[in-house]
C-alpha cells in the first residue's frame, strides 16, 4: 500500500477554516505500517443499493416528479495510483439543492427545500471503475466562517475501495466556478494542483443531448504500487 500523500491532503489545522481550529489534533500523527487487516474491508455489492439510488433527479422509483435545477450527470472512474480501475467501489454522495439548501434539520438557510430532491445518492463502480450519477446542479450557499463566506457549488463524495487504507471523503467542484477561489474550505488544500484535482470538467462528449450536461470527475485512491511486471 502506498502512503497517504500529504502533499495532496489538507493538514488538520487550517485556521482560515474556523471549524478546524478546535477539532484538529496537535500532538502529531503516530506513523504505523498497515497490517494485513488494514488492507481489507467490507464488500458492498448490488444487494446493498438500488439502481435508482444513482438518480437524484427523481424523488423515488415510482414517481414521475422531477427535482428543480439544471440537469447534469457526473461520471468518471475510480482508479488506484497505478491507473487501474477499482471495480465495486461504493460511492455515497450528498449535495445541496439548486438553491443551496440541504435537506437537513440543522440547515436553516433561507433558500427553500425542494420536495422532489433529497440530495442523497449511491452508486457502485463497474468492472473498469467507471460510475455515473444523474443529478441537478447544486447551488452555492453561505456558511458561518467570519463576516462573509460562501461554499462553491459542490457534491460530497464518500468512497470505499477494497481496503481501510483507501477510505476517502472529499468534495467535487465545477469547472469555471468563481466561488472556488474564495472558499476557505477549498483553501485548506495544500496546492493549486490539489484544488484542480477536485474540479470536475465539463465533458460535452458525454452530454445527453436535449437532456443533461455531463461533468467528468475521476477519483484516485491509494493503492498498491505498480509491480515491475506491470510497469
Amino acid at each position: 500500500m502506498t502512503p497517504l500523500d500529504w502533499t495532496r491532503h489538507p493538514p488538520a489545522l487550517t485556521p482560515g477554516y474556523f471549524s478546524s481550529v478546535i477539532r484538529s489534533p496537535r500532538k502529531g500523527l503516530i506513523p504505523l505500517d498497515p497490517t494485513e487487516a488494514d488492507l481489507t474491508g467490507p464488500v458492498f455489492g448490488a444487494q446493498d443499493i438500488h439502481h435508482a439510488d444513482s438518480d437524484l433527479t427523481r424523488p423515488g422509483i415510482s414517481s414521475d416528479a422531477l427535482a428543480i435545477g439544471p440537469r447534469i450527470l457526473v461520471h468518471g472512474r475510480v482508479l488506484d495510483e497505478a491507473g487501474r480501475g477499482v471495480p465495486d467501489a461504493l460511492l455515497e454522495i450528498w449535495q445541496a439543492n439548486a438553491g443551496g439548501r440541504y435537506r437537513h434539520a440543522r440547515d436553516g438557510y433561507l433558500a427553500p427545500l425542494d420536495p422532489n430532491f433529497s440530495g442523497c445518492g449511491r452508486v457502485l463502480t463497474a468492472e473498469d471503475g467507471s460510475y455515473r450519477v444523474d443529478t441537478i446542479m447544486p447551488g452555492a450557499y453561505p456558511f458561518p466562517n467570519g463576516p462573509n463566506a460562501w461554499r462553491p457549488a459542490h457534491i460530497h463524495f464518500s468512497v470505499f475501495g477494497w481496503a481501510f487504507a483507501q477510505r476517502l471523503v472529499t468534495q467535487m467542484y465545477f469547472e469555471g466556478d468563481p466561488m472556488i477561489r474564495h472558499c476557505p474550505i477549498v483553501a485548506t488544500l495544500p496546492s493549486p494542483e490539489a484544488v484542480d484535482a477536485l474540479v470536475a470538467r465539463y465533458d460535452p462528449e458525454h452530454d445527453r443531448p436535449m437532456d443533461a450536461r455531463a461533468f467528468r470527475f475521476d477519483i484516485v485512491l491509494r493503492g498498491r504500487r505498480a509491480t515491475p511486471m506491470e510497469a
Binding site: H9, A12, R26, L29, H104
Partner: protein, 157 residues
C-alpha cells in the same frame, strides 16, 4: 497518478451516509457480540455533535454510527479473534482529512501490540477502552487538548 485529496464531510454528512431509507447494513464476522460506545469531545471539551465514526474490524467487518446531541456514539461489533483492537475512523465538520485511531480491549493483551511501542507511554491509555458493563466497552475521545487521543497515519512501505 496522484491521490484525490480529502475535504471535510461538513455538518450534513448524515444525508449521504446515514440515510433514513436503506442505510448501509453493518457486516460483522462471527464472534462474541459486544457494544462499543463513547463520546467525542473537541479541544474545548465540548461534544462533537455532527461526527460520524466507522469501525473497521480486523476481520473485514464494518459498522458506523453518527454522534448524537451529546457527542455520543455507539456500535454493535464482535470481539476480534486476530487482534486486540478494532480500527476507528472519524469525520466531521472541521476535520479536513479523516482521523484514524483504534479501540483496544482492556481485557486483551494490548500492551504487546506492536503499535503500542510507537506511542509515548503516557498517551497509550487514550486508546484503551474501559469495560462499562458485561459485553460493553467505552472509549471517550478527545480530538485535541488535554489527553488528546492518539491518531495514526497508516503510512505503508
Amino acid at each position: 497518478m496522484t491521490q484525490t485529496p480529502s475535504q471535510t464531510a461538513g455538518p450534513f454528512l448524515h444525508i449521504g451516509m446515514m440515510p433514513e431509507t436503506a442505510p448501509l447494513a453493518p457486516s460483522l464476522p462471527p464472534g462474541e457480540q459486544v457494544t462499543l460506545h463513547g463520546t467525542i469531545l473537541d479541544a474545548e471539551a465540548a461534544p462533537v455533535t455532527d461526527a460520524l465514526i466507522e469501525m473497521w474490524h480486523p476481520q473485514a467487518g464494518w459498522a458506523r454510527s453518527a454522534t448524537d446531541g451529546q457527542g455520543a456514539w455507539h456500535l454493535t461489533a464482535t470481539r476480534p479473534a486476530t487482534a486486540p483492537f478494532v480500527n476507528l475512523w472519524i469525520i466531521a465538520r472541521g476535520i479536513n482529512t479523516p482521523l484514524q485511531t483504534r479501540l483496544y480491549f482492556p481485557d486483551a493483551d494490548w500492551q504487546a501490540d506492536p503499535a503500542m511501542a510507537r506511542i509515548p507511554e503516557a498517551r497509550r491509555a487514550t486508546l484503551v477502552a474501559s469495560k462499562a458493563a458485561a459485553g460493553a466497552y467505552r472509549l471517550d475521545m478527545r480530538l485535541a487538548g488535554e489527553a488528546e487521543t492518539v491518531f495514526f497515519d497508516l503510512r505503508g512501505e
